[in-house]
């Protein structure tokens, strides 16, 4: 006879006894003896299919029978069986994982389902997956469209930007009709149109050290579609801290990179780049340009890696930096190793919480406001000087192909890169006003000229874009 201990609330179904003695040589036999003696107990412990309810654990003495031989576990007469519920909870509202697909979904995903590498199991994994896209721009556009189409169940997007005309050359998730709308809303509409089964969470904020952990914690992985260093380091460190893979991509002009960072054994972004480049050294796409198709290629490499991580198939880019050159149409790869000295993911990490990434990357806060250096001149004042016939040189430091897009006729063109070797063309005693597209490069030109002994040099604030706003709207913006 083995003893079965009855939990307090179930005693009413067991003749008010706190324990019963039953015969049986296995756990299964004892349990069936229990429920045949006390039929009312059966529906408390077993479900309609005759299986133990999900919250019920059976212990033989001090051992969970799941780790013994389950129902076939042998029972000796001196043994005690206990019925113990699993109990957990919390204030979060966790969605239970889905275990099936609807008829419509089976039809929609049929080209996935017939491949054994995906199949029903894989498609259900995709449906249960939660992926966070940081940025709904060049990389975010193809990522959002294809991850939604593939059936990733929950996609979060972080973006605070508005669609403008210069985005449409590459950000195919937005249309001409969307110019002026929030990128989040435009991306949401496109993704829901492709696949209404997808849950899309919109975060209309800049990702910061204050909110990153909270936002990322709700997802299985992050796909980084950002275009600046502070955010890249922030996303990397947050992923390392939360142990979430970071599917990385970056683009510039005709070249792109992609890899997977921050997996259990793989390297992180800081293993590759421990320190950010000095501010201004690496131009952004707005400054340097980008082939519109390029983010399509790189974004879809990231989407492929995200889907492979979810499915657990294939060979991921962990430990490999994929390099793509569109002009040569060549893919290459570099080996990446986890750096044991890495401050984020190394053996003795020093970055255990998020820091000030603007400061880390050497970028002063609120750049536009403090960038008003003494001596800067507004475009409308430059126009007034020209109209008065003042004696000064207007110097355009952009590239010749930009000059072809638009120019101020009075300006002399010397691209910033050529300036050091063409200083002899300029008179150090003359008054010079430099301009470029938006005022960044011309500020560097002003510094260079001052260091070379030029005295009366000023920067035209806001570049030719501001000229178009203040002086001549017929000058196209680019």
């Amino acid at each position: 006879m083995a003893k079965v201990l009855i939990p307090t609330p179930l005693r009413q179904f067991a003749g008010k006894q706190d324990s019963v003695e039953l015969t049986g040589s296995t756990v299964g036999e004892v349990l069936s003896a229990l429920t045949s003696t006390f039929p009312d107990l059966k529906k408390q412990i077993f479900n309609d299919e005759g299986k133990l309810r999900s919250f019920v654990n059976v212990y033989l003495n001090d051992e969970d029978i799941r780790y013994l031989k389950k129902n076939d576990t042998a029972v000796a007469p001196a043994d005690t069986l206990s019925i113990v519920p699993s109990i957990a909870g919390g204030s979060t509202v966790a969605e239970p994982p889905v275990t099936s697909l609807s008829k419509d979904e089976i039809l929609r995903y049929s080209r996935h389902l017939i491949m054994p590498e995906v199949g029903m199991e894989g498609q259900i994994k995709l449906k249960n997956a939660k992926v966070l896209l940081v940025g709904a721009g060049g990389l975010g556009a193809p990522l959002g469209l294809y991850l939604a189409a593939a059936g990733v169940g929950k996609i979060g997007i972080v973006d605070f930007d508005v669609v403008d005309f210069t985005n449409l050359q590459r950000q195919v998730i937005h249309g001409t009709k969307d110019v002026g709308r929030k990128k989040l809303d435009s991306a949401y509409d496109s993704m829901r149109d492709i696949n209404p089964n997808v849950q899309i969470d919109r975060y209309d904020v800049a990702i910061t050290s204050e909110n990153a952990l909270e936002i990322i914690a709700g997802y299985d992985m992050v796909v980084d579609g950002t275009d600046n260093f502070p955010t890249r380091y922030l996303v990397n460190d947050a992923c390392v801290i939360l142990k979430k893979p970071n599917v990385y991509g970056s683009i510039f002009r005709f070249e792109g990179q992609a890899t997977v960072f921050a997996t259990q054994d793989g390297p992180c972004y800081r293993c590759l780049y421990p320190e950010p480049p000095p501010p201004g050294l690496v131009p952004s796409c707005a400054e340097g340009g980008v082939l519109g198709i390029l983010p399509g290629i790189i974004g879809l490499v990231q989407a492929t890696e995200a889907v492979k991580l979810i499915l657990g198939v294939g060979e991921s880019l962990v430990g490999r930096l994929m390099l793509y050159d569109a002009l040569a149409m060549r893919f290459r790869e570099l080996k990446l190793r986890k750096n044991p000295e890495c401050p984020a993911c190394g053996d003795h990490p020093t970055i255990t919480k998020l820091i000030d990434y603007q400061q880390f990357c050497g970028i002063p806060q609120h750049t536009p406001e403090v960038a008003v250096v003494e001596g800067d001149i507004e475009p409308k004042d430059v126009k007034a000087k020209l109209d008065r016939g003042d004696n000064f040189l207007l110097l355009d430091v952009r590239e010749p192909h930009e000059y072809q897009i638009c120019n101020i006729p009075a300006a002399k063109l010397i691209p910033l890169g050529d300036l050091p070797k063409r200083l002899n063309e300029l008179d150090p005693s003359a008054e010079i006003i430099a301009h470029c597209k938006s005022g960044m490069r011309s500020a560097k030109a002003v510094d260079l000229l001052k260091q070379s002994g030029f005295k009366k040099v000023r920067n035209m604030k806001g570049g030719i874009l501001a000229w178009s706003d203040q002086v001549d709207p017929s000058v196209p913006k680019y």
């Binding site: 939990p7 307090t8 969970d64 113990v84 699993s86 109990i87 957990a88 204030s91 979060t92």
Partner: protein
């Protein structure tokens, strides 16, 4: 109706406040007389949830088994489970429901800014689809 005696209540509130901002958990032990449950002792258990415990808790079945044995040895009954919701109201969340069992009273303590705010007791059904609110009486001091 579930009534919590002062000694037990003190243990529950102290445990919930000491684990703040994380969730706490434990068991309530006492006697059942008809429709009235009296909790005379509360036992704090370790929150075994692996991950951020700000909004999750988990009780190890082994710990529950040991608590049940201890209660039996003292001639008492295991009546319920308690846990806290830090900076959050004392409702029975979906997570609570989906990881509950219908045999016990579930008391939820709302702890706001580190101090006790209010509490509720719930009786979940066997299918883990709904929980009925149960009258809860705790010592007001």
């Amino acid at each position: 109706m579930i009534r919590i005696e002062p000694g037990a209540w003190q243990t529950m509130v102290a445990h919930a406040q000491s684990t703040f901002p994380d969730e706490c958990c434990g068991v309530m032990v006492g006697k059942i007389d008809g429709d009235t449950k009296s909790v005379t002792t509360a036992l704090a258990l370790e929150n075994a949830y692996k991950g951020k415990q700000e909004d999750r808790y988990e009780i190890r079945p082994e710990d529950l088994l040991a608590a049940d044995k201890k209660a039996r040895a003292e001639g008492l009954d295991l009546i319920g489970i308690f846990h806290s919701h830090p900076d959050c109201d004392a409702y029975f969340s979906k997570t609570d429901l989906q990881n509950s069992c219908p045999w016990y009273s579930f008391v939820v303590l709302s702890i706001k800014g580190g101090t006790f705010d209010h509490a509720n007791s719930f009786l979940p059904n066997a299918d883990q689809t709904a929980a009925e609110k149960e009258e809860l009486i705790w010592p007001k001091s």
